[in-house]
């Protein structure tokens, strides 16, 4: 039993730290640190710098640009990226559709899509959820009927993050309405420019416009855009959702936010003392720090166990990381509001070209409430925390 890392691992950590802090533009990292929205260009810029360095898809198979990193290296890569406030490579591309195509796609699909996905030359969005299919995803109803070498797709997807920027969408569609609900689903790649697709933005409670509804009205999709076998899409979706599970604790993001909270709370005064010296505030903060340290250790334990697990078999314990990680991240957004105090009040519409008017109150105040509101999503998406509890109850506790 030994918590220390090898000199090689530590050298890798240092390399990652240097890379993220020197190669990714400061302006982009500042936006992330301050809780502002990123433009399409910001995301593409950061993603392409990482890809040029070979660091956008390290977990992919080697022939498609993967790095064969150890779990510890993957952990440092994520942790340093998060602590440096670097936006991660587009998850829909690198964690979702890319690994599915690499594992189940045909050669033509791999050759065409994987390099473009890795370099974000094609931006993918995710077409899974529907108005009637949330936690019960397998009840999805968007249909794809095979007619003359095409699938004709009809239906609606929702919560489609950044669909407004996307070139393509990967969708779960029902190809066999008579089969049991998990068994009639297929995995289709659809060009967003295909006639019959309509994207409608949904404004979220923070005021942001990240998510959308996507409507499909007799959309003709060439059959060669089917990934893997017809009616096997549910298996591919499960594979996709089990990918890259240890990063979901997002410990690095919480560490960095706690640092920021401490810096801001040292400058913010409450009566005669800095807020950071207020006993109640700092005890609340420390309680979160302790949970975070414990989570980091829990994550390391799961990372270490990963070495001996068969590949592609996620540890159900990673659901613990999702639950606790989201709770802690949400707690940090509450603390950030506590720092700002009354100046969470003014609402300022965010525009991609930035703000020109002078701030009301401290310049860091404007993002506090929107971040808090926006971060409520993380215990909902990717399998809500209640679904994660169902997974643990069944897979670990045997209930």
């Amino acid at each position: 039993m030994d918590l220390s890392f090898t000199p090689e691992e530590l050298a890798f950590r240092e390399k990652a730290r240097q890379f993220f802090r020197t190669e990714i533009p400061q302006a982009i990292r500042d936006k992330v640190a301050e809780g502002r929205h990123l433009s399409r260009d910001d995301i593409v810029t950061a993603h392409r710098i990482m890809n040029a360095h070979g660091w956008a898809v390290p977990h992919w198979p080697r022939e498609w640009g993967g790095q064969d990193w150890s779990p510890v290296q993957i952990y440092f890569y994520q942790d340093e990226m998060q602590q440096a406030c670097v936006p991660p490579p587009l998850p829909f591309n690198v964690n979702m559709v890319g690994p599915v195509i690499a594992a189940f796609g045909n050669e033509a699909q791999k050759n065409y899509f994987l390099p473009k996905i890795a370099n974000i030359d094609l931006w993918f969005c995710q077409g899974f959820s529907e108005p009637g299919a949330g936690s019960d995803l397998a009840s999805l109803r968007t249909s794809a009927k095979r007619v003359n070498g095409y699938y004709v797709v009809n239906g609606q997807k929702t919560w489609t993050t950044l669909a407004q920027y996307a070139d393509w969408i990967f969708c779960l569609v029902r190809t066999d309405p008579s089969a049991k609900k998990q068994e009639g689903i297929s995995f289709l790649l659809i060009d967003m420019k295909t006639p019959g697709i309509t994207v409608r933005p949904i404004q979220t409670i923070d005021g942001g416009r990240e998510i959308n509804e996507v409507f499909f009205d007799d959309v003709k999709v060439p059959v060669e855009n089917l990934v893997g076998e017809e009616n096997k899409g549910w298996d591919y979706a499960k594979f996709l959702l089990s990918n890259e599970r240890t990063g979901i604790a997002r410990v690095g993001i919480s560490k960095e936010r706690i640092r920021r909270i401490k810096q801001l709370a040292a400058a913010e005064r409450i009566g005669d003392i800095p807020l950071i010296e207020d006993r109640r505030f700092r005890e609340k903060l420390v309680a979160v720090e302790i949970e975070l340290k414990a989570l980091e250790m829990t994550q390391l334990r799961i990372v270490a166990a990963e070495r001996t697990r068969p590949k592609g078999k996620p540890d159900p314990a990673s659901s613990i990381l999702k639950i606790k990680g989201s709770e802690i991240q949400q707690a940090t957004t509450e603390l950030l509001m506590d720092v700002v105090g009354p100046y969470v009040l003014p609402y300022r519409e965010e525009r991609e070209d930035g703000w020109n008017e002078p701030p009301i109150g401290p310049d860091y105040a404007a993002a506090a409430a929107p971040t808090y509101f926006n971060w409520r999503k993380i215990s909902i998406y990717g399998g809500s925390n209640e679904i994660q509890r169902n997974i643990i109850a069944k897979a670990i506790l045997g209930l």
Binding site: M1, R259, I290, A304, L397, L399
Partner: protein
């Protein structure tokens, strides 16, 4: 980074687990508790045979020279069995103190006796006014020729009624709460002027109130020089906190497992109650609390040998706070999810709940350590 045990550690774990299973069941424990000292001398001899009593001591004195990981293994197993014997007082606290004692003659005479199971220790540091501050000492030791005279009152001395020797903190200089001027002495529990009043604790162990009336001590009995007394005791307490965290993880894991087992077997409304989602999710939250606690117990163990006392202390505060919070949640939920049977003395889960509740209070509860860590600026540098 590696969370695996070495082959030797694995063998130690197997041997302790085997002993606990065979000789320390819930009913057997009840019998041990009825013995004169509130624990079993026969079991203590078995610990000696198994080599558990020599674990932390140097091989030159007949010990095994093992470290914090081995103590973690033993303490977690003892937590699982709610062991009554004075292992924590004698081997964890006493072991740490004796390994660092000033006098090698003292080590040479005592360690073999302890390792052989012929001597137990108690740690008398707390006083009526001190709460968890080990610098808050009114008991005095005054120089008297070639020795010392010890006077004062110590409280809540775990296993102090049966201990052969007591490790006692006393003020040799400075004011009541000064960190300077703290002497640490080894005192014969049967020496003239020592009065002990033993009593049972909430969790079925024993403790004592102890009065020292002008007790005569020799220079050799001084374990730590007065200028190092505070740091000496801080190191003892830090190592002890890591061991308590491990013990608590053992206690918590039994509560968690027992509760899940109960949910699977208890039938109501025509089905096992574990089929109800509301209970499933609460059981999951118990598991998460346990895993967080286990992570911090491991972290504390790894930090016992950290040489920077501030960094070491930060880790111990964080770990003990996590243990306290997880322990309370798991304990309260274990009782609630069991329902009525959880309230009874005949069923085991209540005994674990009581032990966990008392473990939280040893060397500072969760709130105390959160405040202490906040005073140190937390874990993450701004």
């Amino acid at each position: 980074m590696d969370f695996e045990f070495t082959e030797e550690q694995r063998l130690l774990k197997e041997s302790v687990d085997r002993f606990i299973t065979a000789e320390y069941g819930f009913e057997q424990r009840k019998q041990y508790a009825k013995e004169r000292d509130g624990w079993s001398r026969a079991v203590w001899r078995r610990f000696a045979e198994l080599g558990l009593l020599g674990l932390p001591f140097p091989e030159t004195h007949g010990g095994f020279g093992r470290g914090p990981v081995e103590l973690m293994i033993v303490m977690e197993a003892f937590g699982r069995a709610l062991v009554l014997e004075p292992y924590f007082s004698t081997i964890v606290l006493g072991g740490d103190a004796l390994c660092r004692a000033l006098s090698s003659d003292l080590q040479a005479s005592l360690i073999p006796q302890i390792a052989a199971g012929e001597m137990t220790l108690g740690f008398a540091w707390m006083e009526r006014q001190s709460r968890y501050n080990h610098a808050d000492i009114k008991t005095t030791a005054k120089k008297d020729g070639s020795g010392w005279r010890l006077s004062g009152e110590k409280t809540l001395v775990l296993h102090g009624d049966s201990a052969d020797k007591l490790i006692v903190t006393a003020r040799v200089g400075g004011a009541q709460r000064d960190r300077e001027g703290i002497g640490v002495f080894l005192v014969d529990a049967k020496a003239e002027g020592v009065e002990r009043r033993g009593y049972p604790t909430q969790d079925g162990l024993r403790a004592a109130e102890i009065v020292f009336n002008n007790v005569r001590l020799d220079d050799i009995d001084l374990l730590a020089a007065p200028e190092q007394g505070y740091a000496f005791v801080a190191e003892m307490i830090d190592a002890a906190m890591a061991a308590l965290c491990a013990e608590a993880v053992g206690v918590m894991s039994v509560m968690q497992e027992t509760t899940v087992e109960y949910l699977k077997t208890r039938q109501q409304f025509g089905r096992p109650i574990g089929q109800f989602q509301v209970l499933q999710h609460r059981a999951v939250d118990m598991l998460i609390a346990l895993e967080q606690a286990r992570s911090m117990a491991i972290y504390a163990t790894m930090m016992v040998e950290e040489e920077n006392p501030t960094e070491r202390r930060r880790a111990m505060c964080a770990a003990k706070a996590q243990i306290g919070r997880s322990g309370r949640k798991i304990g309260e939920e274990a009782i609630q999810l069991h329902g009525g049977i959880g309230m009874t003395m005949e069923y085991k889960v209540g005994h674990y709940f009581k032990r966990m509740t008392m473990l939280d209070r040893q060397f500072g509860d969760a709130e105390f350590h959160i405040a202490a860590l906040a005073d140190m600026g937390g874990l993450i540098a701004a």
